[in-house]
């Protein structure tokens, strides 16, 4: 009886031949697909190998503990033989404080920038991760741990140490109970930051902030009577009058009643990464709203507003930042009354902010133009006035489109802070590094400071870039 064979189930699929799968396939397709590619692959690998072979000993022989470059070299020679090269990171041990805070920032006050840096993230958290309790918990928890660690390392005085930790703990609780309320801390942060970094009487920033309250109340009281724009103008005048004439006496009187002050640190004692972050963060914070206003102004139907905005944007954008910095630092000095003390850092801050705002305005103009005409018409059809239409319909969409461009502009701004070295401010890349090299113990050190500073800048900029990526994903509402 002929036995018939009937297969009852399918054979399992065989894996593809070895040349068609896994690493081999990938290499065939990507590295070795044509003679040109083979050539490029070989050259590329040779270059990588060459770089690693030549640079590896330098990294491997790193010295972390030495008193001078010469000692570093001796240590490298002793451990790796004559003629070996090695990185000398030991300079960081001596110059660490100067690289981070600037060489002149008082050593006993270094806990203040440290704390401010932690609080910065508390203030940013509700803006960056609105209402997400888990993210807030992670960030605030990290800030609490960071503050505990770094403040004790910096030997912060007991009272501010305890107060700071209690404050952060309270904010942590608040973020879990009522996350939306955390925004109040964000609003309170700029004056707090100012007070912590520069010091002086606590009443100075408080009374200065009261100026904004004056602006707001005058605006509220006047706007039903004379309209929005004149009311805003009146509010501004009232606030300026407050700052010019009321500020001084009020602060004096409050000082007489209750004196709470930190040691005043003039801004020419700022340096290193403290200086970079102060310029970078201030520039970023203030250039965005100014940029938005400029962009809207450029689109405005009012010819004078439009013309002023165009002139401003083009004038600022048409001039290199270094020129503006020179103007800020020196030409202004000729036109100010002699011995007038207009803080150099403040001048630089204003110029950097204005410069960045002009660029942002153009970025935003692009995205405003990219919005379909229908969106503007829909806003009009709903009967929204100009500001409501912008706030509710136009800007949310325009800002969303331009996130990558805005963030890349911010990254550019942050890196541009190193240019202030040209007006003799001690930023970390060239300023502080110049001092390290002027120190007879470390003269001749070359790559290490660049690599260190570059790494820190990379961390900041990469962080910003990743956040923008995250934000894009979060705000993605289309179905492309």
């Amino acid at each position: 009886m002929a036995q018939s064979f009937n297969r009852t189930e399918m054979l399992p699929a065989l894996p593809p031949p070895i040349s068609q799968r896994g690493a081999v396939k990938w290499m065939n397709e990507n590295l070795l697909s044509s003679p040109l590619n083979i050539f490029l692959t070989v050259v590329g690998f040779a270059a990588i190998v060459l770089i690693i072979v030549s640079a590896f000993p330098w990294w491997a022989n790193s010295v972390w503990n030495a008193g001078s470059l010469k000692e570093c070299r001796d240590i490298v020679t002793a451990s790796a033989g004559e003629g070996a090269s090695g990185a000398c990171w030991a300079y960081l041990r001596v110059w660490w404080g100067a690289v981070i805070f600037g060489h002149q920032y008082p050593v006993d006050e270094r806990w203040r920038p440290i704390l401010t840096f932690g609080l910065l993230f508390v203030a940013l958290a509700p803006v960056l991760f609105a209402g997400q309790k888990r993210s807030l918990l992670i960030i605030l928890g990290a800030v609490a741990a960071y503050s505990l660690l770094t403040l004790s390392l910096a030997a912060a005085p007991a009272v501010p140490f305890v107060l700071a930790l209690l404050g952060i703990a309270a904010l942590l609780v608040l973020s879990q109970v009522q996350p939306a309320k955390l925004l109040w801390f964000t609003l309170a942060f700029p004056p707090l930051c100012f007070w912590l970094l520069w010091g002086g009487s606590i009443w100075t920033p408080i009374v200065a902030m009261a100026g904004f309250a004056v602006l707001y109340f005058v605006f509220r009281a006047a706007s039903p009577v004379i309209g929005l724009a004149p009311a805003a103008g009146a509010g501004l005048v009232a606030a300026v009058l407050w700052w010019l004439f009321a500020q001084g006496p009020i602060v004096e009187n409050l000082d007489a009643i209750l004196r709470v002050e930190l040691l005043f640190v003039p801004s020419d004692e700022f340096g290193g990464f403290l200086l970079s972050t102060v310029i970078g963060i201030t520039g970023i914070t203030f250039s965005l709203p100014i940029g938005i206003l400029l962009a809207l102004g450029r689109q405005s139907d009012m010819p004078i507003v439009k013309m002023l905005c165009v002139i401003f944007i083009e004038a600022i954008r048409g001039v290199p930042l270094i020129t503006l910095l020179f103007v800020a630092a020196f030409v202004l000095g000729f036109f100010l009354p002699p011995n007038s003390n207009f803080d150099l850092l403040l001048r630089v801050l204003i110029l950097v902010t204005v410069f960045s705002a002009a660029y942002l305005a153009e970025v935003l103009r692009g995205s405003l133009a990219a919005l379909p005409r229908g969106q503007y018409e829909a806003a009009d059809a709903l009967g929204l006035d100009y500001w409501r239409a912008q706030r509710l319909i136009i800007l949310p969409q325009a800002l969303k489109i331009s996130i990558p461009a805005i963030v890349s502009s911010f990254i550019g701004l942050f890196k541009d802070t190193t240019l202030v070295t040209i007006v003799a401010l001690y930023e970390p890349l060239k300023g502080i590094t110049g001092l390290v090299r002027a120190d007879v113990n470390w003269k001749g050190i070359y790559w290490e400071p660049y690599i260190f500073v570059g790494t820190i800048f990379f961390v900041f900029c990469f962080g910003m870039s990743r956040y923008s990526k995250y934000l894009e994903g979060k705000l993605k509402t289309d179905h492309r």
Binding site: L69, K70, R73, V94, W95, G97, A98, H103, Q104, Y105, V107, D268, E269, F326, A329, F330, V331, G333, F334, F335, P337, P338, N339, T421, I422, V423, A424, Y426, G431, T433, G434, L435, R437, A438, D439, V440, K443, G444, Y446
Partner: protein, 338 residues
């Protein structure tokens, strides 16, 4: 046309601000602090350490001045200035004087409305080469690659020198000292040229200093000294004579350690006048009679300042050379103090 209007306006404002700041000495006294325009950091001459304490050859002159005017050498604020910003900072009144390795030239004296009041260091441009090159004179550098900072007078001096000697060179442009040192040690250039003091400082920090030699030719004159604004000669006199006081002190053997003792015991009339024991010399400058004694007490005499910061025995290891006193074959010469 526009340009001339702009510069006219600038000159006018300079003039106005110059007039308004006529009494720098009074300003300093009223402020209680001397504002000294210094280098952003130059080894041996002026640089802050990691905790912000300034030291150096130029810095000590500022301290001496503060001690003379205010009686306290610590009452001085150092404002760093870059090569680009230094003269504007002085003209606009941000600093009281500059003590930062600025070369005294005719055009700076005339055109920029500045006054160079003294020469505290006679420098000159030199060359450093690797011994392996087998060169013993700069005139043998035909065809060499030379590391040179762009935009400086050294660049022009270099071109002149090679042209005069009818030899050729290949410039390797670098932005600053650190880069020059890097290029030189990496072998990108055969010779490195800058001020001789800078060469010495660089050589001292090379890993193989013994393999490098500074050639004997000095191809330029670089008299470096304190600078003040034009039109305030009373202030210029204070700076000049404080400096001369330090020179006279060295000449007479007065040091920071023995100045008090000398003041009580000396029989030398010039020394008595200098230290304010007799006469009213300090008052003639608008200063305290003990002003110059205070200056010497604070930083020592010129020789002490020199040997402490840049002299033989320090890692920069500069010989006195032209900066020796005139009695010892140098150029440092102070007019009589009477």
């Amino acid at each position: 046309m526009k340009k001339s209007v702009f510069f006219g306006a600038l000159a006018a404002t300079t003039l106005v601000s110059g007039l308004a700041m006529a009494g720098t000495l009074d300003d300093v006294k009223a402020r209680g602090e001397l504002i000294c325009g210094s280098n952003t950091g130059l080894t041996g001459f002026g640089a802050p350490d990691a905790s912000g304490n300034w030291s150096g050859f130029d810095v000590d002159l500022c301290r001496a001045l503060a001690a003379a005017i205010l009686g306290d050498a610590s009452k001085v604020k150092f404002v760093p200035t870059t090569g680009e910003t230094r003269f504007t900072a002085l003209q606009s009144g941000e600093v009281d004087l500059l003590v930062r390795n600025s070369t005294w030239t005719a055009s700076r004296d005339s055109e920029l409305a500045l006054d160079f009041v003294a020469v505290n260091y006679y420098d000159g441009q030199g060359f450093m080469v690797n011994k392996a090159l087998g060169v013993s004179s700069a005139k043998e550098l035909d065809g060499a690659t030379v590391c040179i900072q762009t935009g400086t007078t050294t660049e022009l001096n270099l071109a002149d020198f090679f042209k005069e000697n009818n030899i050729s060179y290949q410039p390797v442009n670098v932005a600053d000292d650190a880069e020059a040192q890097r290029q030189y040690t990496a072998g990108a250039c055969d010779a490195f040229t800058t001020d001789a003091s800078g060469l010495a400082a660089t050589r001292a920090t090379l890993p193989d200093a013994e393999n490098h030699v500074i050639l004997p030719e000095i191809i330029s004159k670089e008299p470096l000294g304190p600078v003040v604004r034009n039109g305030d000669s009373a202030w210029g006199d204070v700076v000049r004579w404080t400096y001369y006081a330090l020179l006279i002190a060295e000449e007479k053997g007065i040091t920071a350690a023995n100045v008090e003792e000398v003041a009580t015991s000396t029989a030398d009339e010039e020394v008595k006048r200098l230290l304010g024991v007799s006469g009213e010399m300090g008052a003639k400058f608008g200063l305290d009679n003990a002003a110059f004694k205070n200056a010497i007490l604070a930083v020592g005499n010129y020789g002490e300042i020199f040997s402490r910061n840049i002299g033989e025995g320090t890692s920069i290891n500069l010989a006195r050379g032209l900066n020796a006193l005139w009695t010892q074959g140098g150029l440092q010469y102070a007019p009589p103090f009477r």
